[in-house]
């Protein structure tokens, strides 16, 4: 199978974020960057499929400035075969603008599966994969946490609120990957890191679409008003219930 995985470079979420001088972005000084969690799981899944079948190709694609080459190299070090950078000065917030550029690259690529993360952990949009599928006219299943593929068809499970949906679809298809699909992503071995340096990484200009959804301001969330410890042990329960009734009015 030929599998494409779209991976996004995002800041490590453990950081304490500061707002940049423009008031509409995050200050990147001192931040570490990684592959967005769900995208890394998608790479892992693609590699597992290839290993299981003993053949196939895994292509990773990332849109952004040259810094995304580091992100692509990491996926290559994990075991992906080749990478494509869709070069853009910055990564827009609008998922449709990104999707247009990714779809233009994926179109005619002959992929059996095109994998996305369910959501990018920085934008928290969760739209790009579905939009690429629509642009390419391919079936799409979102938030896949379990997957079986046989004879050109797939059966996927997706988590709903308090329920699990079982979905069938034909290949080629687009999937957005949720946790559960793989236990965890592998760490690149030294051998993989060395091999990755020689793997092909093609750079092309991104054909971004018009931007219709844009961030005009970023701010740190209002701190939650300082809470209080009501007391210790079950002795504190009556006071808690009183507060829930009279102060918070939620009981």
């Amino acid at each position: 199978m030929k599998i494409a995985v779209c991976i996004k470079r995002v800041p490590d979420m453990e950081a304490r974020f500061r707002i940049a001088g423009d008031g509409a972005s995050v200050d990147e000084t001192g931040l570490k960057f990684t592959i967005s969690d769900f995208d890394e799981w998608a790479v892992e899944y693609a590699l597992q499929v290839k290993e299981k079948q003993g053949s196939g190709e895994v292509v990773v694609i990332s849109l952004g400035p040259d810094t995304v080459q580091e992100t692509i190299r990491k996926a290559l070090a994990m075991g992906a075969d080749r990478g494509v950078q869709l070069k853009a000065d910055k990564i827009p917030f609008d998922g449709l603008a990104i999707a247009r550029a990714l779809a233009a690259e994926l179109q005619g690529g002959g992929y059996d599966l095109i994998l996305f993360g369910k959501v990018a952990v920085d934008s928290s949009n969760g739209v790009t994969g579905v939009m690429v599928a629509e642009l390419l006219g391919l079936p799409v299943v979102t938030s896949v946490s379990k997957l079986e593929i046989a004879n050109g068809r797939g059966t996927a499970e997706r988590a709903l609120e308090g329920a699990v949906e079982v979905v069938e679809f034909p290949l080629p298809a687009v999937l957005t990957v949720d946790q559960g699909l793989v236990a965890q992503a592998r760490y690149p071995a030294l051998k993989g890191i060395m091999a990755a340096k020689k793997k092909p990484l093609e750079v092309k200009p991104a054909q971004l679409g018009a931007v219709q959804v844009a961030v005009s301001k970023m701010e740190l969330p209002a701190e939650r008003a300082a809470g209080r410890i009501v007391g210790e042990g079950s002795a504190a329960v009556p006071e808690l219930v009183r507060l829930l009734q009279n102060e918070a009015k939620v009981l």
Binding site: F93, A97, V250
Partner: protein
């Protein structure tokens, strides 16, 4: 005058609260842009039109009913095609979905078909001149973005629980709409919906969520959490990733960065440390209560009310006290 479409989500033949939330947001947008009409789109098996009255009571002037046996389960492709066709024909100013599991699947399909961007998972909306302006938590909730949507129609999805449904009596006049695509021709087919153990209330709808973490020590002890949820009567059960990874609860119950993002009126964290990845999923809850034996647990930093203590001591007492309070009130 600009009309706004709201997608009134159903599941298993029931209208979902997330559908009413979408109607409420649509009402707000319509009123703010010169008093247009709200058209609620209701898709389901024959008989689904019975929810028109409820939608009218929450501000829908018109209820667009798409009925058919092929829509008994969520049918992503036919539903998206039908919604997009109607939005195009109707010349709507905006279209509002829920950022629930279903809405998060549907909204980007519809937006892409319309060739417009999507502002997803929004927690507040307003109209500013020609633009719809929304708030949307990014970077796992550690940063909040103000996002301007300039496409027409403006397509948005609303975080479940973030904006409470409001009554606003309107006609709710039923208009039947033909599907724009044959549901039987969909390539993506829902074969089965397996209900979890959580009973009727789920995380996107429940006004109260009681969540358990590793502090409960063993799968059986989740009974404590279920009993407390039961005492509230309007509560769903959530869990941390530590717990879902260990198989104590299904992954669909997980709250956090890699799970569900929720905003209930009351969130009770039982034996949960409060890792940032967990807090990312519940920090916009209106009131947070934490019960943890470690007074320095990070969960107390976001909790409005905390009890330092053993869950096996505190939770049964709280369950009994909530039952009492419910009986009295």
């Amino acid at each position: 005058m600009a009309n706004v479409l709201a997608f009134a989500e159903t599941r298993g033949g029931e209208l979902r609260k997330t559908g009413l939330e979408a109607v409420t947001v649509a009402r707000k947008l319509a009123d703010a842009s010169g008093g247009g009409e709200v058209h609620a789109m209701l898709v389901g098996a024959p008989g689904v039109a019975k929810f028109a009255e409820t939608l009218g009571a929450h501000g829908a002037d018109v209820v667009l009913v798409v009925e058919g046996a092929g829509f008994a389960q969520y049918n992503p492709e036919a539903t998206a095609a039908t919604a997009a066709a109607r939005i195009k024909e109707g010349g709507y100013r905006a279209a509002v979905f829920s950022a629930s599991a279903q809405g998060s699947d549907l909204a980007p399909r519809v937006a892409a078909k319309l060739g417009v961007g999507l502002a997803s998972d929004v927690t507040a909306v307003e109209v500013q001149g020609d633009a719809v302006v929304v708030r949307h938590p990014v970077n796992t909730g550690k940063v909040v973005a103000t996002v301007k949507v300039t496409g027409t129609p403006a397509v948005i999805s609303v975080r479940p629980g973030a904006i409470a449904p409001v009554q606003a009596a309107k006609a709710g006049r039923v208009e039947s709409v033909a599907p724009a695509a044959d549901p039987a021709a969909s390539r993506v087919v829902v074969k089965e919906v397996r209900q979890g153990s959580t009973g009727k209330l789920d995380l996107a709808e429940a006004p109260v969520i009681v969540s358990g973490g590793r502090g409960l020590k063993a799968k059986e002890n989740f009974k404590l959490v279920e009993d407390l949820a039961d005492a509230f009567g309007n509560a769903a059960v959530g869990a941390t990733r530590a717990v879902t990874d260990d198989g104590w609860r299904p992954h669909s119950d997980q709250i956090g960065q890699t799970g569900r993002v929720v905003s209930p009126n009351l969130y009770v964290a039982v034996g949960i440390s409060g890792a940032i990845q967990h807090i990312a999923g519940m920090r916009t809850s209106k009131t947070i209560v934490a019960i943890n034996k470690d007074k320095d647990a990070p969960i107390f930093k976001v909790a409005d009310y905390g009890i330092v203590g053993d869950v096996f001591d505190v939770v049964p007492a709280l369950t009994a006290a909530v039952r009492e309070a419910k009986k009295a009130g």
